[in-house]
């Protein structure tokens, strides 16, 4: 397997920071700082919009996944290394933090909880150094398969080595025994939320800056063409090794935050399923852009946690979504957004609004119609006998009568039909919006 990411020539230059050096020298960091400030303010304000504990819990989960996905993308997107066992680094960091937490509780050590993720990070990095010392000598299949093997090994150890991993029950602790941090004891979710948000901002900023350092730049070079990088004086292996360790560090931080948020670490933090999920999350968001994994993590958490409250069939939809993404938008959700940058720069976005409405809304309705059909089939086949009533989109009806089926089929057919009819128009508008000059 080659280590190239995608062959799509249209793919944007990915994590390129190269503003003309002139502009940089003028010191106008505002352009790059803008999104960070907005993100920071958004993080601060979120708890005022969603005040419930469950919303806070879900957001905590999201931000932890964001850090993990960004760290994963340091390998996949920036370094061209495909790992099948990355949950291990996050999990081990978390387990280590949990042991520290328990040590603090048992021996009454004065230790401020907010520092805990740092130790998780160091432990994750330590383990990454160990594994990286032999796995980073190649990218491609070799690296991927070693990561798979190591991942399976550690996951298997987690049930065998009870002393460290606590068996299938895992190990748990209580975060509130640390030194009160300026009076905060982390009894409440909201306090934990701000702690996680702080670490999110810090880690995201550090990871972003890492990609702008010489070794971060060389990671891209090694991803694109490891041999050429060798003839520029850089050992591809060491460049990969540094990326790998850095990634392990931030994974460990995510693990530490997990320990604080859930106060329990189990085998699921290490297993292959978790490693697979982070690959999907990162890809869904888009590996080509720094912010891609952020979008992926948010979207996937909502899918997993929120959609699964609505329907048992959530994983069918999740699977279909992944297939659709990979088939039609290999750049992921971020790629989809960034496709609009040229049109935006040309000032022609307005020309797209109406065609988008005409095509995407019917398409969305059509898809919902298909979902309704799937849900109804499922209810018809697997629902309890006599329990013909089902509720879908806030409507309750009888799944064994004909009318709802006709409606659903009609909605699906009409929606998709209109979308198909108006699709050429949208394509035209798209081409027009991406052509310089002329009037729209």
């Amino acid at each position: 397997m080659t280590d190239e990411m995608t062959k799509d020539p249209k793919q944007q230059i990915t994590t390129d920071p190269s503003k003309p050096s002139e502009r940089m020298r003028a010191g106008s960091m505002t352009i790059t700082l803008g999104p960070w400030i907005i993100a920071g303010i958004a993080l601060m304000l979120m708890p005022f919009i969603f005040t419930s504990n469950s919303a806070l819990t879900i957001m905590n989960q999201m931000w932890i996944t964001v850090i993990f996905a960004l760290a994963y993308n340091m390998l996949l997107g920036q370094g061209g290394m495909l790992s099948f066992g990355h949950a291990v680094y996050m999990g081990l960091g978390g387990f280590f933090c949990m042991h520290i937490m328990n040590y603090v509780e048992d021996y009454g050590v004065a230790f401020p909880l907010p520092l805990l993720p740092l130790f998780g990070g160091l432990f994750g990095m330590g383990f990454a150094m160990l594994i990286g010392s032999f796995s980073t000598s190649g990218a491609g299949t070799r690296f991927a398969m070693i990561s798979l093997g190591v991942g399976e090994l550690i996951a298997a150890c987690s049930v065998i080595i009870v002393a460290f991993f606590g068996g299938e029950e895992g190990i748990s602790g209580d975060r509130t025994y640390g030194l009160p941090f300026f009076g905060v004891e982390f009894l409440k979710q909201i306090e934990v939320y701000y702690l996680i948000s702080f670490w999110l901002m810090l880690s995201a900023a550090l990871m972003y800056l890492f990609s702008r350092t010489p070794v971060g730049r060389m990671a891209n070079a090694v991803r694109d063409n490891p041999e050429r990088a060798q003839f520029l004086g850089y050992s591809a292996r060491w460049v990969r090794f540094y990326s790998f360790c850095a990634s392990g560090f931030f994974c460990g931080i995510a693990g530490g935050l997990f320990a604080i948020s859930y106060e329990i670490l189990t085998e699921e933090n290490l297993n292959a399923a978790s490693s697979g999920v982070i690959l999907l999350v990162t890809f869904l968001g888009g590996v080509g852009f720094f912010f891609g994994p952020i979008i992926g993590a948010i979207a996937f958490t909502l899918l997993q946690t929120v959609l699964s409250l609505q329907t048992e069939l959530w994983s069918i939809y999740a699977g279909a979504l992944f297939l659709a993404t990979v088939m039609f938008f290999p750049g992921g959700l971020a790629g989809l957004l960034m496709m609009h940058v040229p049109a935006f720069k040309l000032g022609k976005m307005s020309g797209l609004v109406v065609p988008y409405f005409k095509t995407l809304i019917p398409a969305a309705i059509g898809v919902l119609g298909i979902c309704a059909l799937i849900e109804m089939t499922f209810h018809f086949r697997h629902g309890a006998t006599g329990d013909n009533e089902m509720t879908l989109f806030w409507t309750t009806f009888d799944s064994h009568s004909v009318l709802p089926w006709i409606i659903a089929i009609a909605v699906a057919a009409i929606g998709i039909g209109i979308a198909k009819m108006t699709a050429p128009e949208m394509k035209e508008a798209w081409d027009e919006a991406n052509t310089a000059g002329g009037t729209s």
């Binding site: 080659t2 799509d8 299949t141 070799r142 991927a144 093997g149 190591v150 002393a163 890809f283 699977g319």
Partner: protein, 318 residues
């Protein structure tokens, strides 16, 4: 002594079953560069299709028809899915098969439900072929060995003696040259994918009754198939065979003989610590070989990748 013979037979059955999956996968992987994560899902589809067919027209028709349906489904996936994704590169292809595996598992649950299927060995084969020191060898196992060996011979014949086989072999090593010679490479890809998945389907049909037909059956097999082809060497049919048998036998023997870590450690001169319950390594001391039998292949793979990256029989580095 008799137990060794019995274990050899059992390991052979496991190994050959694994081979039917890895043979298809190694062809697909080395020709198209696709790490097909959904390969075991096609194995599952084989079992489910065969179960449904066997209810209607019997086991033997299931054995015949189910792999065909699975192969067609596989070819369809290549034609309408993978081929589109191929242009984006290998990681998207991999994600595609990943998503496909998820989707197939969900669809299987949607259609057949979440319970185990009562798919069982046909009556004709439901007897004990012979016994070795009280261990009965079911006739069905002999049947499984027979089927897998015939498939191996058939594959070997096609690959080495027929024109199509020659092209496939050439395409394994020099995909571009074959295309330059005017062969329809996309068609070959579709065919190889179809045949590879059909082989997985056969494995599913004959393994379903003994190993169980349930929605998690693909996941249980999961990545071990990759491990097999990496150990054997990518693109090598012989490598896949040897690695499959090796894994079959290693895991069978590791499970059959309780080799304890403490015995090994004592054997090399390390004394068992006195105070076991306080020892941080206590869990290491109590490990026995059956506990770790199923992760031995992963350890083997990591070692092989470190010391012989091309695999046992591989010609090129992965």
């Amino acid at each position: 002594m008799e137990l060794i013979l019995v274990n050899l037979i059992d390991g052979l059955v496991t190994g050959l079953l694994l081979f039917m999956l890895s043979a298809g996968l190694t062809l697909i992987f080395s020709m198209m560069g696709v790490l097909n994560f959904a390969h075991a899902s096609f194995y599952m589809l084989g079992a489910y299709f065969a179960y449904s067919i066997s209810l209607a027209i019997g086991f033997w028709m299931g054995l015949l028809i189910a792999p065909l349906i699975v192969g067609l489904a596989g070819a369809g996936v290549e034609r309408y899915g993978l081929r589109r994704v191929h242009q984006y590169g290998h990681v998207p292809e991999l994600i595609f098969t990943f998503g496909l595996a998820l989707l197939i598992e969900e669809v299987v649950q949607f259609i057949w439900g979440k319970n185990q299927m009562p798919y069982s060995v046909p009556e004709v084969l439901n007897f004990t072929a012979f016994s070795i020191a009280g261990n009965s060898i079911p006739a069905y196992k002999i049947f499984m060995i027979f089927i897998s060996i015939s498939i191996f011979i058939g594959l070997l014949y096609i690959l080495t003696k027929t024109r199509v086989g020659m092209i496939i072999q050439a395409a394994l090593s020099y995909p571009r040259t074959v295309e330059a010679l005017g062969h329809n490479v996309p068609l070959i890809f579709m065919g190889v994918f179809g045949v590879g998945t059909a082989l997985a389907g056969v494995a599913g049909v004959i393994a379903g009754p003994v190993l169980g037909t349930f929605p998690g059956m693909a996941f249980v097999l999961g990545s071990i198939v990759f491990v097999t082809i990496v150990i054997g060497g990518l693109g090598s049919l012989w490598g896949a065979l040897v690695a499959s048998l090796l894994i079959g036998w290693i895991t069978t023997f590791a499970k059959s003989y309780n080799i304890a870590m403490s015995d090994i450690l004592n054997g090399i001169g390390i004394a068992t610590p006195e105070n076991m319950s306080d020892n941080p390594f206590r869990d290491l001391w109590t490990i026995t070989s059956p506990q770790i039998a199923d992760i031995l292949p992963y350890i083997l793979m990591v070692l092989i990748l470190i010391f012989r990256p091309a695999g046992l029989f591989g010609k090129r580095e992965s």
